[in-house]
Symmetry: D2
Subunit: 366 residues, 4 copies
Amino acid sequence: MSVEDPMYYWDYLGLDEVLDSQRLASASDRRAPAHDEMLFIITHQAFELWFKQILWELDAAIDLLGRDPIPDEDIAAVLRHLERIVAIQPLLVEQFSVLSTMTPLDFLDFRDELIPASGFQSVQFRLIENRLGLAPKKRLKIGGAAYTSRLSREHAERLEASESEPTLIGLLDAWLARTPFLRFGRFDFWEAYRDAVQAMIERDRHLIATNPSLDAAVRQQQLDAFETSNEAFTVLFDRDAWEELRAQGKRRLSHEAFLAALLISLYRDQPAFHQPFRVLTALIDLDEGFTAFRNAHAQLVHRTIGGRIGTGGTSGHEYLQAAARKHQVFSDLFDLATFHLPRKELPGLPDDVRTQLTFRYSSPDD
Amino acid sequence: MSVEDPMYYWDYLGLDEVLDSQRLASASDRRAPAHDEMLFIITHQAFELWFKQILWELDAAIDLLGRDPIPDEDIAAVLRHLERIVAIQPLLVEQFSVLSTMTPLDFLDFRDELIPASGFQSVQFRLIENRLGLAPKKRLKIGGAAYTSRLSREHAERLEASESEPTLIGLLDAWLARTPFLRFGRFDFWEAYRDAVQAMIERDRHLIATNPSLDAAVRQQQLDAFETSNEAFTVLFDRDAWEELRAQGKRRLSHEAFLAALLISLYRDQPAFHQPFRVLTALIDLDEGFTAFRNAHAQLVHRTIGGRIGTGGTSGHEYLQAAARKHQVFSDLFDLATFHLPRKELPGLPDDVRTQLTFRYSSPDD
Amino acid sequence: MSVEDPMYYWDYLGLDEVLDSQRLASASDRRAPAHDEMLFIITHQAFELWFKQILWELDAAIDLLGRDPIPDEDIAAVLRHLERIVAIQPLLVEQFSVLSTMTPLDFLDFRDELIPASGFQSVQFRLIENRLGLAPKKRLKIGGAAYTSRLSREHAERLEASESEPTLIGLLDAWLARTPFLRFGRFDFWEAYRDAVQAMIERDRHLIATNPSLDAAVRQQQLDAFETSNEAFTVLFDRDAWEELRAQGKRRLSHEAFLAALLISLYRDQPAFHQPFRVLTALIDLDEGFTAFRNAHAQLVHRTIGGRIGTGGTSGHEYLQAAARKHQVFSDLFDLATFHLPRKELPGLPDDVRTQLTFRYSSPDD
Amino acid sequence: MSVEDPMYYWDYLGLDEVLDSQRLASASDRRAPAHDEMLFIITHQAFELWFKQILWELDAAIDLLGRDPIPDEDIAAVLRHLERIVAIQPLLVEQFSVLSTMTPLDFLDFRDELIPASGFQSVQFRLIENRLGLAPKKRLKIGGAAYTSRLSREHAERLEASESEPTLIGLLDAWLARTPFLRFGRFDFWEAYRDAVQAMIERDRHLIATNPSLDAAVRQQQLDAFETSNEAFTVLFDRDAWEELRAQGKRRLSHEAFLAALLISLYRDQPAFHQPFRVLTALIDLDEGFTAFRNAHAQLVHRTIGGRIGTGGTSGHEYLQAAARKHQVFSDLFDLATFHLPRKELPGLPDDVRTQLTFRYSSPDD
């Protein structure tokens, strides 16, 4: 800053541009603007500001996660970036509550002016999805067309380019897969774990089979469902079967990365796993946050335009509701819980393994 | 209160009972209790306390709505009851955030002790659903069994009895259907509205047909979708077709009640409609609140038990996610927006009709 | 919209300007920008966007409240404007939570670049305060200087001009004061109310005097405090004493307006008072919302810069904490509760008075 | 669980007791209960349930922090306990929003029945304050009486006993004070830090002195304020002066503990400081959460009873507002920011010191 030009709040924040950028389409001809169009524009601008911030954090996290090896300081920074996104997400949901004070009639006062513009054209949100690692082929089609079909050429190209850039889930996978802890020298962890799983399954099967509050038919149904759910373990122990599911898009993480994540979540109390466990938790929170955002969006659209076709020509709330389920990127991490065992049944770690997971403050005498 | 026994905070609130009712199942044998079971119990107790409060408000609202005629003071009271429920709902969602600080491993420390108890056994929540008017036949089956199948005989009977008691949607329907405003003397509102709809549809069709950002194939798809969505209007103008949909469970409100609700939402600016419009809005908010609750529950279950069978023997988060969509009771009110017209295209009310919808403060000289 | 230039989401929202307006001061020389400056700028821009929206609603409310008489439709609209501000306020508080993910060290990475810019230079927030009706003489001094002293001439003039423009509290006062309900023909409401107050005071005094859980000294203290608090009633019944307090800045509403507000809040169940009561409630919520905002701001400043002098040269969190209490505009409305009586002790309204407060739907036969 | 008695949701949660414990005082004679008393009771019961949970977490944290040395696993657990309390706090604030749907008139329908019971009699909340370490002498007097004066003998004794039990701040102090990192072998950290501080102060003084947007009088005021704020540094470097302030109750942490906390917050990027830094942050969040709770309580009391004397005989909202500021326990941690330096001015750590703060995964070959 130069002495001639002291920093001034208004200028620093670019408020001339920011506060002058609300151009109400309903005011374009000779009538007074629709009062609620201001809310509509400002809410969407606030969404886009926060999307920019989310991308800023995602890009920083991706940049750090792309290094090899990743120093512990950097994992701490990655965690800060992810947790900040998680802190931002409730704002996004809350903004829909604010927007819902605009009733359908209020929206109709200016809705026709917006056609064919649509929230589906939010380049930044699509970019967030790509950065997270939403696979192009997993995207719900919007009326059969590519998700870039209604964008300007420049924006479509930006998104298409991002499809081949590093993704959060991709780098997470690589980082997990190369963890040194997957192989504990002579201790065969996975064999011990498998035995423990077997014991648990048998105990659970017995609990259902003898549940006195179930009649015979319901019990049989539950037993069938139980056996189906056990198939998950079979796949967990079979790398090829896992990778087959992955090829079908039913899993996103590689077999090795998933095992590493499972190990971290089972032994999160070991000092070496504290931060990695927080990273996994932040990713679950983050996925949940986007799901809550999409669900809130679906409700808002339903109450505002009913069953109508949206300004973007799509069926609105049903698409959004479906996306809330289908566009989750880190559902593998939610599924970790499927493979957890009670602590008391977990194979104990041999001392030499525990030592590897502990850290020792070195002392000047070392 | 007697002088001998001054009111004391602890006793007034029954804290001996409330704070002594956390019996940790994991502590039943000789080991220390699982730390997180306290959170699990207290969170569920807090849910049940709020469910009791919600029922208290629902019962009061139902009692008032069951009168005929309903004085304006009572509609004000109904509104207060509904808006209080809406104020409580974010608490319920937030409580799941608190519960999500319990990780899968922490849950496994006591989960086996709970079998076969399950949140599906929350009698109060089922009662709330029945009071709202969730139709028994619209309930998702839980493993093929009746929703009362796993309850004590007393609880099952209480729920079954409630199925034939007055419901919020039933009384709302009756109240709306008998509104005197549906027939405006000589002014044929619905004919004028129909003409306006016709004009709007033609204009919208033109907008899609000439949307320059769509290529031919996409345009055709959108036009097809648009025509499908117009069928809604055909049904709106055809009482028999409407009641046919209703018989199929696709509509809940009677034709007359829906038209009354539409009228209220279109002319909410008329003084006589202020309060009724707020009632409709509160019901939409309330439905949305329970949807958010079920979605948050689904996410919590997913992250805590993964794809596993829940302690209640059901597949957990998928059931809850489906219920979030299927158990909405007031979706007709969301759909009102489908039939809205821009204010400038709404048929103007003749003066004698407006007078009916305005109120005049009477004066002593009257 | 012309056919050549279909509406495009990005352009409609002015995203070129909005998303290009983050100029990181820390990046101005040859080093990488401080990562968290982006969050700092975007959060403040989001604040300013919402401030603009709040002003948009305030201006609309003020415009409608400035009419005489105000049709019921317009009171409904005023209410919508106020309730929307109340819906926006939790966002503002939440945004401080997001900003608190920036630690003191992160802030120091760019704080020096901002000097002497300061949040105290938010023209829009000062304008909101003026629109609400914060009296210039009630403003806390910032280091002894006028609140406009650090603004550009243009901004200072805009604020100074606003001091003489209509305010929300001023128009509220006028609207309340001219309510026809203050004088109920032959029924002397205030005399009946005064008798009821007298009875309540005597009963309460007895309750304290005989409270068995108090020892003599504490009882005397409470009795003294009780008598002090009763002085409020003396003033309520004495117009001159009231206006004297008002001249001292201890009351904002005129005697007549306060009595009207009291009447509305005591008899809110009367149909004619439903909407006015909601307006009063919305104003209490709105005041509370700004208090929560200032408290959250104070906490944020304390944890981010500690006891240091802020970039604006003020002592930061202590100023903000004090403003949270002193800058409340509608505290008279909070104080209404001081003068409430239990419903069962309220003077009953004579039938001819009730009729005045009820409304009758006129019918074509009238 | 025995086969004869399968776990049942209702029984497990003690719902017979919990849902049967709402005894409406307004229903004690022959009239219908005041509708809103149910909300009043249930909200307070929910508060007390969450207070129990908070105590459960505090006790667990205190138990772990009381060990010496504290293994890293245990610090991770302490952190989980604290962060869970932080997750609970927004619920408490939100519950006041729900309670604020009860208007003053609604409260008066049953308020007299409650006298002399009062929220000041919440034993659990007082216990929480004691567990945190609120010094008895720092407590605001309630009408001149001890905070236990209005409690049953049993409750008063429980609280008095707790005053001499270990507190969170006490154990935090001990843990921080014995950190080995305060003395870095040959590297005199504090001397280097002091030099950096000196440089920063001189630079800041220059910034104010040459701030072109200030006129002479304001500049002088700011310079005076600046010099006052620099006195904080003098005390920081003077153990005796610090302990003198502490004896006066102006500081809570010992000199050594404060320096350790400062070190951790300045070098939080070092792996060994990740968890300790999170602990400090959680404590700031926790203090802020209780402040928000007290502020929300003050607002609720103000709008519900106005300026009246509360049922407990105190002046209500003013007490609560004052307590929000005075009862903060960890304000020393907020003040850490006062002593931060920009990263680029922080003394660099010599390599052998960095090594001490890093951890090395040991390998089987070690």
